[in-house]
Amino acid sequence: MDLPAARTSVTLLARLGGSSADTSAWEEFLRRYGPQVLGWCRHWNLQEADAEDVAQDVLLRVSKQMRTFRYDPSRSFRGWLKTVARAAWADWLDARQRIVQGSGDTNVRQVLESVAARDDLVGRLEAEFDRELLDTAAAQIQLRVDPKTWSAFALTALDGLSGAEAAEQLGMKVASVYVAKGRVQKMLQDEVRTLDLEESE
């Protein structure tokens, strides 16, 4: 079975860090991780224009670090992501300290230069990675279960309908909706665990 969306997503970062990175992977990376970095800048109270500049700079540095520290598929993916993020932050900091000395707005910048800000950045990227894993797992599970089971899960777990509402909509017994929901949820957890291991080993 063809799972382009799913597989690509899982290997997205690996593709960026591996030897076969390409433009589409970079674009996908920007689409997924760009907002996280931008969000990070805003969270640390940078003004809009500054935030975009900083976010852009950090992203480009992430890409540069990805080239420097190639991902080795035999090692922890998460560890690699963190290393890259930390290195990009340090690189950015290094550059920043060289050019913005003496300029105003130092409080905000100092905050951004704290270890807490760095860990927040790493954390945000990692959270996005988790989401990526989950999305991937969901895409794969969806292909594995029958459409009705999936709908029961999606309506209850994702769209927030109650079991009874979903049952009515799908013409199922309420109990079957919960059975379906529970089953998919379990498969999803297992899949995420497997993916995470795959990514790490």
């Binding site: 076969s20 907002p35 540095r61 290393t83």
Partner: protein, 1175 residues
């Protein structure tokens, strides 16, 4: 069911584990019971799902903006494995897909310039990743490209684009013979003979080149129509195996082995040769004549059986119209024994021609008794009996008759047999050579890859083997390449630079330290003996150390560890418990304390970084009994533990990982006797302590800041860990023998029984990386800049790693266990080893090779400026050699500097403040007397006389000069580009100038030229090679009038060109990091540089060597390396020249011995050029 089901019942329901009836009633109940639905809701509540990313309003436009401005970011731009959809091959428009298999794919494509349809073959991703398939594709494509025959599908071009080799072949639109036959088309015997003659000619041409098709069958014969005649074109020579028919390896090929020769069907591959192709031709002749393949069983197995064992029916017995001679020829081709067939396709063609011309054919019909023998072989007993009967009856007649015929043709037969034997042998030798060359080339790749990954010693051994193979296969080109590589890599073989301590079994060197800013080396031994101080520079007098420092307690003289003080001093920690501060330059004791008690031997010691510790200067030691102490060097007292005693224990009292699952509280765990503390060190800014042992892994303890002189208890009275105090156990999964904290104190290396791992003190759950080691780790080291680290093991293997990425950098072997490792304070290309055998030796690491580096700009634009993609903001560094003063020159965007080697003072040319030198506008004449330079925005360019007598600058009025270059010592050119008034277009001019002593500079020609991407002069000084934006080739233009002269070279997106001063080669660099080398003749077949290691980013500059480096091509790339290649074969030569940033220029000096590179970080570097090596 009135009553609600229990929670357990609901759980079982969810697991679908309820019994049928029970399940039904529960389900019915749930449908109408809100309470149960709520219970189910709780039971199936999702674990806190990761929140969806909150997309901030401007994020979308923000991303679009980055994408727009970072097309060149190229995150590891290797589109090699980009997914299948029609690839973009320079110069071709892909029209449709003709066929696809596991390894290869064929497209119908149109050659843009020639407007000609071609069949474009490429490897699929599957084929690309299989190294052997790829290698074979390239070797065979190369061989077949040389094959020009009217009846062979012609290869027009082969090359590589974006990492994928491709092959452009003649497109034949008449379908193939298999299709024609299946449509029921019948051929007359003469038509059949003609078709097969042509095919045989084609196959013979291939045989002459040592190529055996091995897979001749109707589907591999393409048909073209010319003058109402059907002309066959043999396709899929060899490439068949990697492209189309491998598809059918499981299908068609096994489905119809009807055309397979018996030796193939029987797996006797050693017998496969020219006669195999003769069989294939015969099988097709058979089908053309009779309408059926020679064998066709119900099943594949049956067909194979028939191929091997059954004598084919004579075509004449199927189709009566088949002439006897063709019948004979056909059956001779189909003989089971290769020896009995026509030996070559030539012989078959000759006999078919004889038939077509009405002459006598050489083949004789199998004689009646021969057939009988064949039958007898199959069914021995009855047929031998029959034969005997027949022979007795007509024996006399038969024998006489046979004897006569034999006699008549005896001489001819012998002659034929002799020729056959010779041909076969020649073919065999050729074929063997081809195979051996292939093997040698594959072995070359392996050797190169070993060297590239830091295993230089093994790579060199492998290279020696490749040399042997290449010589045996008479591959002289490869042999020459291997010799050069051996010579170039030999310089990178790890080697001893100098020794300090001489071997002495009584004093194994366990501690080493550089002191006095690297001028002194201090060594010590745990087994006693004095601490020795060695001068690092200068010669040793009689091999004696500079000083020997006596131990404070002669009874316990062993040194545990040595540390640098904040000034020039050295702290030595002795096994007697003494801490002595030495002044190593004079040998005087600055301070001495008996700091530590001795409940048992001291095993390890660590110290805070004297300059960057918030806790002040602290020293700690670990003991054999698993305890440790902390000594405050400032206050000269021991730290107190939680219980006021200074005895601290290497044991983790927090919640143990394993016990988390059993739920046992940690305090109930009986405390086992802790093992020895193998290593101890301070982390972060001195506010953390790390201990490592054979048990308990690595434990991290927080120390109070500012220091209080005591270690707080991380365990609160309620048994829980105090969240305010860092306290952690790193799970290393085994005994830790060595541990070392990095210079920035954020990482630590841990060495176990078979592995070394890097951890950070922040991320505590898993290591940054882990690598195996052949033996137990005995020593660790970080380079002072924190970028490299090294590990040594008991077997004497030392490995160097890049700290952050964990990339393997280099490896060396020492004969004895290495007990101490130390990088010198400056530079990371050497490492000091202290060994079990008492010696301390400085080794060269195979990491760097540049001759020297000279700063061209004191403050390079590097990381630190917001990235804006565009060449104008880049710090261009061009560099070259100038022969006048035998020196070098380097140009950045702000100055041009000369380093004369003849002793005259350094000098430079710089524009006014704020002005920028146009990139590529700097040239120095071949005699070094004149430099050209152009400043952006000025209306003139400058011609600088560099001869010391004059040193004048002439400004020549020509605006917008962006490029300059010398054709000869008296002729140069400029390319200027200016905006056209009223439009946003640029118009350009190429100008040719003459330099004369009396008249100065005069313009001799001018013609329009714009959108230039690169330009290089031809050594004949008459033309220039020019690449232009949007042009998919580079062309020679007459310097005097801009007319195209001769020919051009096909290459899309050309970024750099170079012409070999020896006039043999031209090199072009283009799209997708591709580099091609072309002979400097009107021959359009260029050779792509396709051997690994390819560049990972744009190629910015090319240069050819002269003299000893003639035939060497240098490439400079944005991937931060410059590389050398053998122009003739396209093989890499020697190690890459590594730079911290993009390499922008490369040039050879006139002697051909040195190379200079310019790097974007503002540095130029000098390197030795790879030398030619004579066998």
């Amino acid at each position: 069911m009135a009553e609600c089901p229990t929670l357990d019942q609901l759980r079982l329901l969810l697991e679908s584990a309820l019994h049928g009836s029970e399940q039904e009633s529960v389900e019915v109940h749930i449908d109408s019971c809100a309470a149960c639905q709520q219970s189910l809701e709780r039971l199936t509540a999702a674990p806190p799902r990761v929140k969806q990313a909150f997309i901030t309003p401007n994020a979308v436009t923000f991303i679009a903006r980055i994408q727009a401005m970072s097309p060149g970011v190229d995150v590891g731009p290797r589109p090699a494995t980009s997914p299948a959809p029609p690839p973009d091959v320079p110069g071709y428009d892909i029209e449709s897909e003709l066929g696809r298999g596991g390894m290869g794919v064929v497209y119908l494509a149109r050659h843009r310039r020639l407007n000609r349809l071609v069949a474009l073959k490429m490897l699929t991703e599957g084929g690309l990743t299989d190294r052997s398939v790829r290698t074979r594709f390239l070797i065979e494509a190369e061989t077949i490209a040389q094959l020009r025959h009217p009846h062979v599908v012609q290869v027009y071009e082969f090359g590589e684009h974006a990492g994928r080799p491709y092959l452009a072949m003649e497109y034949v639109d008449g379908g193939n013979l298999a299709e024609r036959l299946s449509q029921g088309h019948r051929f007359t015997p003469v038509e059949a003979a003609e078709l097969v003659v042509w095919m045989a000619d084609a196959v013979a041409a291939a045989h002459a080149k040592g190529i055996i098709h091995r897979d001749l069958k109707p589907s591999n014969i393409l048909l073209a129509t010319a003058d109402s005649k059907t002309l066959p074109k043999v396709a899929d020579f060899g490439i068949a195996r990697v492209s189309q028919s491998e598809i059918t390896a499981t299908g068609e090929l096994l489905g119809t082995p009807s055309y397979m020769a018996p030796e193939q069907a029987d797996g006797r591959t050693r017998e496969v040769g020219t006669a195999t192709d003769v069989y294939g031709l015969g099988a097709m002749l058979y089908e053309l004549l009779s309408g059926h393949p020679p064998f066709h069983g119900e099943t594949v197995v049956e067909t194979l059986q028939q191929v091997v064992h059954t004598t084919p029916r004579a075509p004449r017995s199927i189709a009566r119209a088949v002439p006897r001679d063709l019948d004979t020829i056909c059956l001779k081709c189909l003989e089971k024994e290769p020896k009995k067939r026509y030996p070559t396709a030539d012989a078959l063609a000759a006999d078919l021609r004889a038939y077509l011309d009405g002459r006598t054919i050489t083949a004789r019909p199998a004689r009646s008794w021969e057939r009988a023998v064949r039958l007898a072989n199959r069914n021995p007993v009855p047929f031998v009996a029959l034969l005997l009967i027949a022979a007795t009856a007509v024996g006399a007649f038969v024998w006489v008759n046979e004897a006569r015929r034999e006699e008549a043709s005896a001489r001819k037969g012998e002659e034929l047999a002799r020729r056959t034997a010779e041909t076969n042998e020649r073919e065999a030798i050729k074929a063997r050579n081809l195979v051996e060359q292939g093997a040698a080339r594959t072995a070359f790749d392996q050797a190169m890859s070993l060297c590239e990954t830091g295993n230089v010693a093994s790579g060199l051994t492998e290279f020696a083997r490749v040399l042997e193979l290449a010589e045996r296969a008479a591959d002289l080109d490869l042999a020459a390449v291997v010799r050069r590589n051996i010579s170039a890599w030999e310089a990178h073989r790890p080697r001893e630079v100098r020794g300090f301590d001489p071997p002495s079994a009584a004093r194994p060197v366990t501690a080493t330290l550089y002191a006095d800013e690297g001028r002194l080396l201090v060594t010590g031994s745990r087994r006693g003996g004095p601490v020795r101080v060695w001068p690092v520079t200068g010669t040793l007098q009689d091999g004696r150390p500079f000083l020997e420092l006596a131990p404070p307690d002669a009874k316990l003289p062993g040194v545990v560890a040595l540390f640098a003080t904040s000034s020039t001093g050295v702290y030595a920690v002795y096994e007697s418990g003494h801490v002595v501060e030495w002044e190593p330059r004079t040998g005087t004791v600055i301070r001495q304390d008996l700091a530590f008690d001795l409940p048992c031997p001291i095993r390890s010691a660590g110290m805070t970084q004297p300059t960057r510790s918030v806790s002040g200067k602290l020293l700690c030691v670990g003991y054999e009994d698993g305890t440790f102490r902390i000594w405050d060097l400032d206050r000269r007292e021991l730290f107190a533990g939680p219980d006021e005693s200074p005895i601290l224990t290497h044991f983790y009292r927090g919640p143990k990982k394993k016990q988390r699952f059993t739920g046992l509280p940690a305090k109930d765990d009986p405390q086992p006797p802790p093992g020895p503390v193998n290593a101890i060190d301070f982390g972060d800014s001195g506010n953390m302590l790390l201990t490592a042992g054979e048990t308990e892994g690595v434990i991290l303890y927080g120390l109070p800041v500012p220091k209080t002189g005591r270690v707080p208890d991380p365990i609160l009275t309620d048994g829980k860990v105090d969240p305010r105090i860092p306290y952690h156990q790193f799970d290393l999964g085994g005994a830790v023998f060595q541990m070392l904290v990095s210079p920035d104190r954020q990482f630590f290396l841990a060495g176990g029984a078979t592995a070394v791992s890097l951890w950070t003190i922040h991320e505590r759950d898993r290591p940054v990386w882990v690598h195996n080691h052949p033996d137990q780790i005995t020593a660790l080291a970080f380079s002072p800049d924190g970028r490299l680290c090294a590990s040594a093991d008991r077997g004497g293997t030392i490995r160097c790693w890049d700290v952050l990425s964990g990339a393997f950098q280099a490896q060396l072997h020492f004969t004895e266990p290495v007990l101490s490792l130390r990088f010198p304070p400056t530079g990371t290309n050497t490492i000091l080893l202290g060994s079990q055998n008492g010696s301390s030796v400085l080794w060269q690491l195979p990491l760097r090779s540049e001759l020297e580096a000279r700063p061209a700009e004191p403050a390079p634009i590097g990381p630190g400026v917001v990235i804006r993609i565009g060449s104008n903001t880049e710090q261009a560094v061009l560099a070259g050699f100038e022969p006048l003063r035998r020196g070098e020159w380097v140009a950045t965007s702000h100055r041009l500097l000369f380093w004369p080697a003849d002793g005259s003072p350094r000098f430079g040319i710089r524009p006014n403040e704020g002005e920028t030198i146009a990139r590529d506008s700097v040239s120095v004449s071949p005699d070094g007397k004149v430099a050209l330079i152009s400043v952006l925005g000025r209306k003139t360019f400058s011609v600088c006389d560099l001869t010391p007598a004059k040193s004048t600058v002439q400004r020549i009025p020509t605006a917008g000069v962006t490029r300059t270059g010398f054709l000869s010592e008296t002729q140069f050119f400029t390319v200027s580009e200016e905006p056209q008034p009223g439009t946003d277009q640029l118009t350009g001019q190429f100008r040719l100038w003459e330099l004369t002593r009396d008249k100065g500079v005069t313009q001799s020609a001018a013609w329009p030229l714009s959108a230039v991407t690169c330009v290089a002069p031809h050594p004949d000084a008459k033309s220039v090679l020019v690449g232009r934006v949007g042009d998919d080739r580079v062309v020679f233009l007459d310097a005097a009038n801009g007319k195209e002269v001769g020919w051009g070279f096909q290459h899309t997106g050309v970024t750099a060109v170079a012409v070999d001063p020896g006039r043999r080669w031209v090199a072009t660099a283009g799209q997708g990091q591709s580099v091609r080398v072309w002979p400097l003749t009107p021959d359009r077949t260029g050779r792509p540089l396709d051997r690994a290691p390819l560049h990972g980013d744009r190629v910015n500059a090319l240069a050819f060597g002269t003299g000893p480096s003639a035939g060497v091509l240098a490439t400079a790339s944005s991937d931060g390396t410059a590389r050398f290649w053998d122009a003739k074969t396209g093989y890499p030569l020697g190690p890459p020249l590594r730079h911290p940033e993009a390499v922008l220029s490369v040039a050879f000096d006139v002697s051909g011995e040195r190379v200079i590179t310019g790097c974007r970080n503002g540095y130029a570097k000098l390197w030795p050029a790879p030398k030619a090596v004579t066998p």
